[in-house]
Amino acid sequence: MPCRAAYVCIVILTPLSLFATIWNVGTTYKLKKVHAALELAQSGDTIIVQSGLYTEGTLTINKKLVLIGINYPVLDGEKKAEVVSIKHDSVVFNGFRVQRSGYATLDDPGGIKVYNSNNVAIINNDLYDNFFGIYIQYGKHCRIQNNKIKSLGKDEQAIGNGIHCWKSDSLLIIGNKIQGHRDGIYFEFVTHSLIWRNQSEKNIRYGLHFMFSNNDTYVTNTFNNNGAGVAVMFSHKVNMFNNTFSNNWGDAAYGILLKEISDCVMQGNRFTSNTIAVYMEGTNRIKIYKCVFQNNGWGLKIQASCMDNSIELNNFLSNTFDVSTNGSLVLNTFSNNYWDKYNGYDLNKDKIGDIPFHPLSLFAVLVEQNNPVMLLYQSLFTVLLDKSEKLIPSLTPDNFIDESPRMLKIVL
């Protein structure tokens, strides 16, 4: 079998090697500059760059080329220019260290920027201290995989996004590690894309930021310790599966902020130690399913402008407030959740509590109406108020209710 496989390889690869040339760049080769290779190469060629420091301003790739770096050759923009501009379809850019791009607010230079090109693959690069990390505008079927993107910015204005995608479609963003940018991953008008297994942390603003981006899916990503967590706004049909949102702690930090979005599914996500785990405003038909809310200030903040959302089979564990809302209108449904604050009983042993649970505490309502009330947090007076309200709900909306609270933690 190995013989046959090798034979197949030879048959497939031979025609390629006949037409494509491999250009080596490095101090020990004839070509010392990447620029020179880019000029000489024809469409379909491969350029292999040996390790070393290359300070050549902007490298523009406007042919169908494969660029491969050996031991992370350093492409340095010296804080003056964009480092790599990709302006052709099907370019592969693999294994470089791209650093110190210029800063400009008008044309947003990036470490690697893709202009109007499809099927571009940006793989295994190390991006360091750039204004924008990887920037894709008008790209289709591009793949951004296993890149390390790090920036040292302190000021929100002086730093761009880690992976910035604009007016694109069918992107794959997989396994990247992003740190210290303004937004870790930023999507604006990006459709049918997959964000999978990325780690976005310590970004100044959001770990992930969605605007007007429909039909996207993000799976198994980690968003940790970002300035304001994750924001998904003005989008519909976004799927969010098995992501972790943690340690987004601060005055205006959210695990995830959902604003004006509809028809989304959130399943299997974990929210731990966020000030507000999920903040929903003007969201419709969202299904929050099998998620874990643990150690958050607020588990869910559902504004009265939300409609037809269903919250099902989630675990709410040791949050200060499980749920809060700002009005008396409740158009969302809660069912089959486990609430650790529930202290009902289960006589027929079907593991579902016999009396419904009111997840909204009176104190949460008072705080929502008037934030300074939070001063009375943990005072005996408010504890007593809450207890009496639990027995005879009068001020909290009485249809804010989980009719079938679980007795035991749901195993996820």
């Binding site: 005055d251 930090a253 040791s318 001063l375 009375l376 943990q378 005072s379 005996l380 007076f381 504890v383």
Partner: protein
Amino acid sequence: MIKMIQLVMLDVVKNRTVLAYLLLLSTLSWSVFFLEDSSTKGTLTLLNLMLLMIPLVSIIFSSIYIYNSSEFIYLLVSQPVSRKTIWISLYLGSVSALIVALFIGLGIPALLYLPLSIALYLISVGIAITATFSSFGFLVASAFRDKAKGIGVSILLWLFFAILFDGIILLLIFQFSAYPIEKAMIVVSMFSPLDLARILVLIQLDVASLLGYTGAIFQLFFGTKLGTIISAIVLLLWAVIPFLLSLKIFTKRDL
């Protein structure tokens, strides 16, 4: 005077109420730390217990102690010591017994389970509350001759600071919700030693960011050295002023 303080302390310890208080506190605080897995939650529960238990026990215990030791006081007055010394020794003796109980019952588990700074905050706040409510107890006991009346007033005082005052604050917040009342609230919170103590500890925990804008304003004040010093002085005044009043009444009273 030192001799007298020792005498009072010994008497208070023999009384067994302090022993029961110690046992209660230590049972509560150990069970809190065994049951709660996160230290923030543990701190909050402990804080809650402290704000409920310490003032109640301190005020009731110290007033009853004064009523019950009236014969002992008569005896002391017949000796060549000034009334001032007697009263101060009574106060310091009973307060230090309560503080020792507090330290053993609550301080040791807190020091073991919590970050040092937060544990120290809790303990010092506990000591301040003990001192404050003991002096309330002394004030009540010196002002009312009738024991039943005195204990009733003590309970009312406790009820006022533990519950009613927060109700008034809630009312104020809602009445003045249209105004920027955050800074005024700092001043208002100084009018209740319990609220001041609670806020001082809350600000130290990471739940502080739940307080939003109000929390930020409070952090700006209580987070600074000046704010800490001012609030410490206010807490001290809460202990000193009622005691001085009671001292005045006691020295002038016809026994």
